[in-house]
């Protein structure tokens, strides 16, 4: 399944890119993060993050579909 991943803040720096398209066997955001954390050496644990699919907050166990756009959201610090 082919997915689009966008990276922000610390994850963007650790991934060394703002986005990528990925062919993945991951069925859920949880599985996808584990795969990407291993590849990019992410230092944030999944429990510290939220996840968005197609620009809306999502459950980690949601079934991903081809073409979905996924964003992992590090602890925010607006204001």
């Amino acid at each position: 399944m082919r997915l689009k991943i966008q990276y922000y803040a610390l994850l963007r720096e650790q991934a060394g890119r703002s986005e990528e398209w990925l062919e993945t066997p991951a069925a859920t955001p949880a599985g996808l993060y584990d795969e990407l954390a291993a590849r990019h050496g992410f230092t944030l644990a999944r429990e510290q993050l939220k996840v968005a699919v197609n620009s809306e907050f999502s459950d980690w166990a949601r079934a991903l579909e081809a073409g979905d756009s996924v964003v992992f959201i590090p602890p925010v610090a607006g204001g």
């Binding site: 650790q14 968005a52 964003v71 925010v76 204001g79």
Partner: protein
């Protein structure tokens, strides 16, 4: 209403959007870049947003405030990009018939925005080091900076 802007926030224009002949009270909040945070001397900041979701979530927060408190108008504008010391990072304004609701709604909006809206802040320090606020303890020391 919630907006992101890469330009300095025009508080005069934002405030004019809240005028209302029936409003007797107006409360605004501004977040300014401080010269230090958690004991470190800050030189400048970068704000980065996941814009599409930030605006959605910000709009939700303002709608929640309007549902909780009977206010006339409410608006939040958040800056993104590179900011210097004393620059304004965020502005919230609320007008209402009586002042109590304006205070409550303004406080609600800024508290929720800081916790929920996908915006991140990277601080640059006098030491030359830098770090993503709220992610520093999570990250391997120096890691974020090395790749930054």
């Amino acid at each position: 209403m919630f907006r992101l802007t890469p330009q300095p926030i025009d508080t005069g224009a934002a405030r004019r959007e809240l005028r209302d002949a029936g409003a007797g009270g107006y409360v605004s909040f501004e977040g300014w870049v401080r010269d230090q945070n958690e004991g470190k001397q800050v030189t400048r900041l970068e704000y980065e947003a996941f814009a599409e979701l930030a605006v959605k979530e910000g709009e939700r927060i303002v709608r929640e405030a309007r549902a909780r408190y009977p206010v006339k108008h409410a608006l939040c504008v958040h800056r993104v990009g590179s900011l210097d010391l004393a620059d304004m990072a965020v502005w919230v304004g609320v007008s209402s018939e009586h002042r109590g609701e304006a205070f409550e709604a303004c406080r609600y909006i800024i508290d929720e925005v800081k916790h929920r809206v996908p915006i991140w802040k990277k601080e640059h320090y006098v030491s030359g080091d830098s770090g993503w606020v709220n992610c520093e303890r999570c990250a391997v020391p120096g890691h974020a900076h090395r790749l930054g």
